[in-house]
């Protein structure tokens, strides 16, 4: 059903909507662009990012009383959006989401073994800044799995801390660290492949 635009005049300006809808808009509007950018980084397409944000807003609207009480809406909304995202991946794969090939490594980390997430393996240092051209990074990012993109986007681009991310993704800290490590490792592989492909082209 289409909601037809109704213009309400308030203090000389025109704003849309009244009542709960207006309050919902007031609370969420400033966060929607950032949530959209997250969704775009995770999904890699405009259409899927829009679908994800639309689903998020539909999920949040009935929870307006909870939204009113929040000090920080964005991490809370991001958590809900991540849950929708994971559920979609599960549906698409028609099986429980396994984050890449790393399910066993997650289990290993959860059991308390190792600190693989510390990133001591050779990798980004070998890729000089000159080699990290935007074109290569974008191509590698596009080839990265969606679940890897999500964790890298939130931690390495959007600056969420590990404890915040553990809450958003609803996973133990150890699992998160493993996942982050594997996502970076995979990205390095893809970037290295891009570098080699570029060398071949030359």
């Amino acid at each position: 059903m289409k909601r037809m635009a109704w213009l309400k005049r308030t203090r000389g300006s025109l704003t849309a909507g009244t009542g709960d809808a207006a309050e919902f808009e007031r609370l969420l509007r400033e966060h929607v662009p950032a949530l959209y950018r997250s969704a775009y980084r995770w999904t890699g397409t405009v259409d899927r990012a829009e679908d994800l944000v639309q689903q998020l807003l539909m999920r949040l609207y009935p929870r307006l009383p909870e939204l009113r009480k929040l000090d920080r809406i964005r991490p809370w909304a991001l958590r809900v959006m991540y849950r929708i995202f994971v559920d979609e991946l599960r549906r698409e794969r028609a099986s429980p989401v396994e984050f890449g090939m790393d399910a066993s490594a997650d289990a290993e980390q959860d059991s308390g073994e190792g600190d693989a997430w510390l990133d001591t393996a050779p990798g980004p240092a070998e890729l000089t800044e000159q080699e990290l051209t935007q074109e290569r990074v974008v191509r590698a990012w596009e080839r990265l799995g969606e679940e890897h993109r999500a964790v890298l986007a939130m931690h390495d681009i959007e600056d969420y801390t590990l404890p915040e991310l553990a809450q958003i993704m609803d996973i133990p800290l150890g699992t998160l660290k493993s996942r982050l490590h594997r996502a970076r490792a995979r990205l390095r592989e893809l970037l290295t492949a891009e570098r080699l492909a570029a060398a071949d082209r030359v």
Partner: protein, 194 residues
């Protein structure tokens, strides 16, 4: 805001910086024009639809099939009947003949227009008379604008304010390619102190 990350020893952190910088410089588009507004509005409409869907029986399917009305005179009669159906889901406690407001009360009056086809550039006239006004338009009794109607249900939510005790009337007229349909809603405003 730059935060310190818990990513391991400093050397590892240093190694990560070029990659992080590169990732942050990746182009990320802003939402397409109008997307934010549409998405927020759609969330509200979806919620309203859910509420309507929970209503019993025929109230759930109240529609205004103005494209199928036979003519202006008959259309008026049908409009009156449909007006009742339109209003009852909004406030099921009032008489179906009339909407009752208390003085200074603001209430959204919903008009649901079901069109059998997409209509580009329909003109919508809203006239508020008597004891009521449209919120934000106290000095303007008639408001006109153009809108596109989707095929199917289109919800128009009109914020009505009770300005004085007595009777009021809200008329919505929809015009497209020379065809006009109208719904009229009778309202009464009561001053509890009177």
């Amino acid at each position: 805001m730059k935060r310190k990350h818990e990513t391991g020893p400093d050397v590892a952190e240093d190694d990560l910086q070029p990659l992080r910088r590169a990732l942050r410089q990746m182009p990320t588009p802003e939402p397409r024009a109008g997307f934010v507004e549409r998405a927020l509005a759609q969330a509200a409409v979806q919620q309203r639809s859910s509420q309507v869907a929970s209503l019993p029986g025929r109230l759930r399917n109240f529609v205004l099939r103005w494209e199928t009305w036979a003519g202006a005179a008959l259309g008026g009669a049908v409009a009156a009947a449909l007006t009742l159906m339109l209003l009852r889901p909004v406030d099921t406690t009032v008489s179906p003949q009339q909407v009752a407001l208390t003085l200074h009360e603001m209430r959204n009056v919903d008009v649901l227009i079901d069109s059998e086809r997409e209509l580009k550039g329909a003109t919508i006239h809203i006239v508020a008379s008597g004891s009521i006004a449209l919120d934000g338009f106290d000095d303007e009794r008639q408001i006109d604008w153009q809108a596109d109607l989707d095929r199917g249900s289109n919800l128009l939510s009109l914020p009505v304010v009770a300005r004085a005790a007595g009777k009021g009337r809200l008329v919505a007229v929809i015009e497209h390619e020379g065809r006009t349909r109208q719904v009229a809603i009778e309202l009464s405003v009561v001053d509890p102190k009177a």
